[in-house]
Symmetry: C2
Subunit: 496 residues, 2 copies
Amino acid sequence: MLLLKIDGASNVPAYRQICDRIVALVDEGALRPGDRLPPTRALGASIGLHRSTVVRAYDELRALGYLESRGGSYSTVRRRQRPPSTRRDPTARKDDSLIDWSAVTRPSIRALHTHTAMEPIKSATPGDVIDLDRLSADPTLAPDDDLRRCIKSVLVRIGGAALDYTDAAGWRPLREVIAARMCNHGVAVSSDEILITGGAQQALDLVLRYLTRAGDRVVVEAPTYGMDHALLKLHEVDPIELPLLDDGMDLDRLQRVLQRGRRRPKFVFTMPNFHNPTGITTDQQHRERLMALCEKHRVPLVEDGVEEEMKYFGQAVLPIKSMDSKGIVLYVGTFSKVVFPGQRIGWIAAPSEAIVRMTDIKHASCIAGNTLAQAAAALFCNSGEFESYLRRIHRVYRRRMQALLQGLERHMPDGVTWTRPSGGYTAWVTLKDIEMTESELLERIMREGVKVGPGNRYFAGRPATTHFRLSIACVAEERIEIGCRLLGRALARALE
Amino acid sequence: MLLLKIDGASNVPAYRQICDRIVALVDEGALRPGDRLPPTRALGASIGLHRSTVVRAYDELRALGYLESRGGSYSTVRRRQRPPSTRRDPTARKDDSLIDWSAVTRPSIRALHTHTAMEPIKSATPGDVIDLDRLSADPTLAPDDDLRRCIKSVLVRIGGAALDYTDAAGWRPLREVIAARMCNHGVAVSSDEILITGGAQQALDLVLRYLTRAGDRVVVEAPTYGMDHALLKLHEVDPIELPLLDDGMDLDRLQRVLQRGRRRPKFVFTMPNFHNPTGITTDQQHRERLMALCEKHRVPLVEDGVEEEMKYFGQAVLPIKSMDSKGIVLYVGTFSKVVFPGQRIGWIAAPSEAIVRMTDIKHASCIAGNTLAQAAAALFCNSGEFESYLRRIHRVYRRRMQALLQGLERHMPDGVTWTRPSGGYTAWVTLKDIEMTESELLERIMREGVKVGPGNRYFAGRPATTHFRLSIACVAEERIEIGCRLLGRALARALE
C-alpha cells in the first residue's frame, strides 16, 4: 500500500503534495515502471482527502509522464523515456548527435566559417604589435561619457518606451535626425526615406534579401570590402568583379556588363568615398557617368557611404545619392565606422517604396532594432555632441593619415606603390613583382612587428597582384611612423 | 577676366578660396558651361599666387565636376549633370523613379506587407477599448529602474567595451547566464551551446537560413504564431500545417508526413509550453513521442520556448530540449515576452556545431548584436533582479489568467469553447456554428469595445472554423472581467 503523508497545514495544495511525493518515490526507485497505483477513491479515503483531489494529482502526473492509464480503470507508473539531467555527462561525446550539424546546411553556409574575406572583429593582436589591420573607430577616442549621459537622459525622459518595441523602420526621431544629416551631405530625403538598421551589415543584408535570390549576380568593385563577400556567399549571389582603376570602378567594363542581355546584375555596388580597402575617392565625372549607366539600364545602384564623415583633405565630393533625381540609388550609412560600433546603428536612404519593402523584410526577420540605442543616438546627434566629436577625431585622423602617407613616402622601397586617400582609414599597397606568396609576405611583415590586412580578403577570386591594406583606425600617430619604417624594412628584404 | 579676391590673412587655404569662389560663380550663373578659365600661370600672376596653388584648385574643381580640361591646354566650366539640391522639390512625384521598387522584388516579399499573419507591434487601440489582442510583456509592470541601474553600472564597470563590438555569438557572460538558466529548466547546456540573437524572431530567421532554402518544407502546428508565417513567406518555405489537437500537434499525421520519402520537411516546429495562440501545454508523453518520431527520422526539432518562464498553475513540464540526448533539438528562447522587448534579446540553445554555423550566418548578416543591451541583461539576471521580477509578474499574471478563465466561464454563451491554459498569456476561443465572416465577427466585438486577435492570422491557409485569440498580457485584472462580459454579449448576439 502506498504511504503518503499530507500536511494539511502546509501552503502547498494537497494535490501538489501527492504529486511531489509520488514523483519522489519514482525517482528513488521505490515505485517502478509498471507498478499499479491505488484507485483514486481508495487513496483519497486512506489519506483523508476527497477523491477529486487525487484525480487532479493523477492528471498532473500523467501530464508529466509519470503515470499512464491502463484500460481506464487504474493507473500505473510509466517508463519515462529519458529522465532529464541538469548535469552534463562528461563522458558524452559531442558527435553523439543523430544529425550531422555541419553537413545539414548548404555548402554556401559551410564556406562562411573558413572564408578569409571575413574580417575579424577583434584581433588578438599583442600590444607590442603595430596593428595596421583593425578597422573600427578607435575606442580610445570614443566619447563614452557623452553617450552615457544621453542614455541616462533618454531613460529618464522617455522612460519605459525606450525599453519597449520601436517601429521596424526605426525610432522616428532618429530617422529624422539622419534625414537631416543626409541633407547636409546634399541628399534631399525625408524621414520616410530612411530605414534604421543594425549597422551597415544588416543594411546590405536587407538590400540583398530585397533585390536578389540564389543564383543572381551583382556588380562589385575588385577589391571591395571583405565582409561583402561573406554576405554574397550567404545569399548565394555571384559577384561580377570589376577592377578598380586609379579613378574608380572600370566603367567601360561596367557598360559592357550592363549591355549584355543575359544574367543582368541585380544591382551595382560601389563605395565612391574613401573606398575600403583602397581609400580611393571617385571624382564627380566618374560618379555622373556611373549613375548615367545605371539609369540607362535601370539597374539599382547601391552606394556604400559608411565612411562619408571621414574627409580630411580637400573639398568633399557629394554622395552619388545627392544627384539621384530618378530614384535609383539605395544609400547605406552607419555610425559604426565613426563611433560606438557596439550600438549597431546604420541606415538605408532610398525611395520610400523601397524603404517600405525592406521594412517589411526587417519586421519579418527581427521585428525591430534596439529602441534605447536608437533613442540615445538621436539625442547624441541632436545635442551637438556628435559634431564636436567629429571635429575632434577629424583632427586626429588627419594627422594619422598624414603620418601614414609621409611614412610610406619615406620608407617604402622601389617596386612598391600605394594609394593617397583624402579621407577614411585605409590605404592600399601594391607589390607588382614579388616572388613569395601573400601569406609568406604577411608573415615576414608580422615578424617585424606589424599587422596588415591581407589583400586576398577583398577579392572573391585570387588577385593577380600582391596587395595589402593599411588601416590607421586604431594606431596612434607616432606608432604609424614606426610601423611604416618596420614595414619598409620587411618589404625591402622581401623584394631583394 | 576672372575676378578673384584672395584673403591672405584667412585660415582658409588660398587654393580652397579659389575653389569656393569659382564654385560660387558657377552656381550664380556668372560662369557658364563652356566658359574658358584663365591659364593657371596667368591667374596665379593676377592674384599674386604661385601657379601651383591655382593648379591644385583646378584639380579639386575637376574632381568636383566643375571644370574639365580641353585638349590639356586650358580648362572650361563643365555642365554638371544634376546640381544636387538639399531641398526636396514639392512638385516631384514619387513615381518619377526609373525603377518600380514595388515590383523589383519577388512575390514572396511583396506579400509580406499585406500578410495578415503579421502581428502589429503597436496597436493604435484607443484607451477605452479593452485590448485582448496585444501580446507583449506589460510595460506598466516592467522594472525600468532596475534595468537603468544595470545599464549605468555596466557603463561604469565595463566602460568603452560595452559600446564596442561584441562577439557574433554574444557577450560571453550573458551566454553563461542563459546556459545556467536553461539548466534550471532541466536543459544541460554549456555557454558554447548558446547563441545570443536579436529576440526570438532573429533566432527563427537564423534557423531558417541555416536549415532551409526556397522551396523547402517545414512542419508547423496549425494554428501557430503568426509572425512565423511571414518569416516562412520571406524564406519561400512552405509550411506543412498539422492540426493542433487538444493535447498538441497531431502526431499520427506527423508520422505519416515523416514516413513519406519525398519533400521531407527540413524541421518540425513546435511550441510545447503555453502555445501561442492556443495556450495549450503538451504533456510528457506527447513530448516523448514527438521527439522519438524526430529522432527516428533524423529531422531537427525546433522548440519554441519563448514563454517558458510564464507557468502559473500546476507543475512545470520540462522543455523537450531537456531530454535531447541525441542532439536533435534547437531551442529558441527570449526575454522579450517577459521583459524589455525593445532590448531585443533572445537565444538559441543547440548542439555546438549548429551554434557555430548559425554564428557564422549571424556574423555575415549583421556582425553582432548590441553589446550594452547584452551586458545589461547579464547583470540584470546575475543581480537577482530578474528572479524577483518574475515572482512579481507571476502573481499578477496568475490572477489575470484566473480572471480570464472565470470570466469566460461566466459570460460565454452556448456554442463557444475555449482552452484553459496553465501559463503564458493567451487563450483560444472557437465558434463552431457561426454564420458570419471572421472580420464581421471581430467588428461586432470591437463595437462592444473589445479587441481580440483574428484567428486567421495564425494559419497559412484559411481555417475551417472561426477562432480568435485572447491575450491577457497588457490588460489589468478588473478590465479582463469586464472584457469577458462585453465579449459574451457580442458573441451571444452573433450566435442568435
